[in-house]
């Protein structure tokens, strides 16, 4: 049989989502064997989870990234990491994920295979099973190809109570690694940018790193992963949530040379660009060095840095001490960050 783009052998067609034989084959041949685990394997209408001792933590996220595949990851890796990290920064241990694939007809099966394999890899790294899922095929629309929704349920670790309300003046702010790598990677991969670099997305599940930090026993107040809105967004969350100010040192921000130069070229502030494998940690000053060392000892936290502190100053602002000794505020970015035109 001749393979063409419209052949069912080569790309997803509408009938794949119809619940008939093609659907079963798509799942049986391409999805289930790759994601197999004891919770998923029975293929019931719902997955049945074992009871847990701690409180349950539950989250969901939707992923529509373009392009679907990029240096350092793809939409599948992102879909696992995003949800795992939302659980992890609450102090929860992920127990199960759900996975819904919304596939646009015409998606090459080879792409689907790569994304599913990447989901399996990321889930393995995070130590969490894909317990349940669904697949829909929709008619061709904007050519996005694939959208993914994941939800995750986790168990709050014993004794953990990380919340913005526990932040106090004097607390230190730590970032677990270099800024802006994911967002800049995606922007430079988009059609028409014509920028070649060795930027890679930092997409990674943070559960292991967060567990290592938790086990230091340090007085951690709050964690949040600075995805859309970047570190600027999280720092403004802190200022707004506590009515305290946050002072940040520009010179302390971990930025690789390629991030620094690309952001400069595009006229973007690395503080406002998305990360997918980093975490902002607020910790008591007396424990800051201990958490920093624990972070730097972990493969995902080697370039961690203490970047600022919480200050009792009004009005509540995020203020940056610039590298040359000046001062300015840091605002939450609004809408989509766009490269400048001149």
């Amino acid at each position: 049989m001749t393979a063409t783009l419209s052949s069912p052998e080569e790309c997803v067609v509408l009938a794949h989502g119809g619940g008939g034989q093609l659907t079963s084959r798509l799942l049986a041949e391409r999805v289930l064997p790759v994601l197999a685990n004891p919770l998923l394997n029975p293929l019931g209408d719902s997955a049945v989870l074992e009871p847990v001792r701690g409180r349950l933590v539950f989250t969901t996220d939707a992923f529509v990234v373009q392009p679907l595949e990029f240096p350092g990851g793809d939409i599948g890796r992102l879909a696992v990491c995003g949800t795992v990290n939302d659980l992890a920064v609450m102090g929860a241990i992920p127990r199960a994920l759900s996975l819904a694939l919304i596939i646009e007809e015409g998606l090459p099966l080879a792409t689907l295979d790569r994304v599913v394999a990447s989901i399996a890899t990321a889930a393995r790294e995070a130590g969490v099973p894909i317990a349940t899922g669904d697949t829909k095929v929709i008619e061709r629309r904007g050519g996005d190809g694939l959208m993914i929704t994941t939800a995750g349920v986790g168990e709050l670790a014993y004794g953990v109570d990380w919340s913005i309300n526990r932040i106090a003046p004097g607390d230190r702010i730590l970032i677990t690694g270099g800024l802006a790598e994911h967002g800049l990677t995606i922007m430079t991969q988009r059609e028409g940018m014509g920028i070649e670099s060795d930027l890679r997305s930092d997409a990674a599940p943070l559960i292991d790193l967060v567990t290592a930090l938790r086990r230091t026993g340090a007085a951690i107040r709050f964690m949040r992963d600075p995805t859309r809105g970047g570190v600027a967004g999280v720092l403004n969350d802190i200022a707004e949530g506590t009515r305290l100010s946050v002072h940040v040192q520009e010179a302390a921000l971990p930025l690789t040379p390629v991030v620094r130069h690309t952001a400069e070229l595009l006229g973007l502030d690395p503080l406002t660009v998305a990360n997918e494998g980093k975490c902002v940690v607020v910790v008591a000053a007396s424990d800051a060095q201990r958490v920093l060392q624990a972070c730097q000892a972990h493969p995902l936290g080697r370039s961690a840095a203490l970047i600022g502190e919480v200050v009792d100053a009004s009005p509540p602002l995020v203020e940056l001490q610039t590298a040359v000794g000046g001062a300015r505020i840091v605002q939450r970015p609004y809408g989509e960050e766009l490269p400048r035109i001149c």
Binding site: V324, L338, P339
Partner: protein, 360 residues
């Protein structure tokens, strides 16, 4: 440049400033406005050295009539409008381009004019129109893209040209005389194209120092120090402290391409009205690529949205904080005027870097 150079320039600025009355320098370019805020330089300058933002934000100087024409065009069947990102959120009479897009108009954000040409080549069924705005930084790119479209024989590509020229705008501000300007921090990017010598009219007719300045922190301070030195000495010369990128005569290749495709023409500026020889229109030989003609469009009236003072802000006549709408009704999430929309806009820079956010 090094931290030592930065400190040296800053010390020099502080020293010269003690010998000067209050002075106002205009940074013409929006990129400078943003960079001066972002690096914190504004917070380090002596109180009697005031920096004014000038008419150098391409989106901000575009007349409301142009925005309305672009929105009208975007609503036409079969038309795809390609634009730089900053343009899509500028409010027009019937809503912004963003609003037209939400209602179904085909609007694409591109990073260069060539992207629009490539879209036209790929999609012969579409009429692709590029919104050609900006100064001499973007005009050569528009011209080169148009020549590429011509060589590809594209019949479905055109440009809605409203390019502007920097030096005539500076002259108008000085001729107007409403705002005392003691010297100019001249735009680095534009000067790469037009060359440092292009500011000669400002120097010889109006006797104002013009210093071509780059965007590195130490470079910006070097520019400010150079202007202050000239003021203190009663000088008015062209100086180039960005010689690593800017030559006296500019980029000949870019200027030639621009000159081949465009000719100087009167242009409408927001709030400043029609200024002679301050813009670029397509030469008759390229009329086939003129979207104004092809779609029978005219640039309608210019007007400010009620209460909006963007027109004064781009001329240095008002600071953003003087506007009652600033940071109250007009914010980046809900911009009323273009200076709050554009990432290079003065109001957006103030909102983002300068004033405390609104209490909510």
């Amino acid at each position: 440049m090094t931290a030592a150079a930065f400190d040296e320039h800053l010390d020099a600025i502080k020293e010269i400033a003690t010998r000067l009355p209050a002075v106002q320098l205009m940074e013409v370019c929006g990129t400078h406005t943003v960079a001066l805020f972002r690096t914190g330089i504004k917070s380090l300058l002596p109180a009697n050295v005031r920096l004014l933002s000038g008419p150098g934000c391409p989106v901000c100087v575009t007349s409301q009539g142009y925005i309305d024409a672009a929105c009208t065009l975007a609503r036409r069947d079969g038309v795809t409008v390609c634009t730089y990102g900053d343009m899509v959120r500028v409010p027009g009479r019937g809503g912004s381009l963003e609003v037209q897009r939400a209602r179904g108009a085909r609007i694409r954000v591109v990073y260069s004019a060539r992207d629009a040409v490539h879209l036209a080549a790929k999609s012969p069924e579409l009429q692709v129109v590029f919104l050609a705005v900006g100064f001499e930084t973007t005009a050569p790119a528009t011209a080169a893209a148009l020549l590429e479209a011509e060589s590809l024989g594209l019949k479905n590509f055109s440009v809605l040209a409203a390019h502007k020229l920097v030096v005539p705008a500076m002259e108008v501000l000085l001729a107007d005389g409403d705002v005392p300007i003691d010297g100019f921090i001249c735009p680095g990017h534009v000067s790469v194209i037009i060359g440092a010598e292009a500011y000669q009219p400002v120097v010889s007719r109006y006797h104002k120092p013009c210093v071509v300045t780059g965007f590195e922190p130490a470079g910006m301070l070097a520019g400010i120090a150079a202007v202050l030195r000239q003021i203190a000495a009663g000088d008015a010369r062209i100086e180039n402290v960005y010689s690593v990128a800017v030559t006296p005569g500019g980029n000949r290749v870019a200027l030639d391409v621009m000159d081949r495709v465009f000719e100087p023409a009167p242009a409408r500026w927001r709030a400043m009205g029609e200024l002679p020889a301050s813009g670029l229109r397509l030469r008759p030989a390229y009329a086939a690529f003129d979207a104004w003609r092809r779609f029978d469009l005219t640039e309608g009236d210019d007007y400010d949205p009620p209460g909006c003072r963007c027109g004064e802000v781009i001329q240095g006549k008002s600071q953003p904080a003087d506007c009652a709408l600033f940071a109250t009704a007009c914010t980046p999430l809900n911009p009323i005027g273009p200076c709050m929309v554009s990432s290079e806009g003065t109001c957006a820079a103030w909102y983002k870097y300068h004033r405390p956010p609104v209490e909510v």
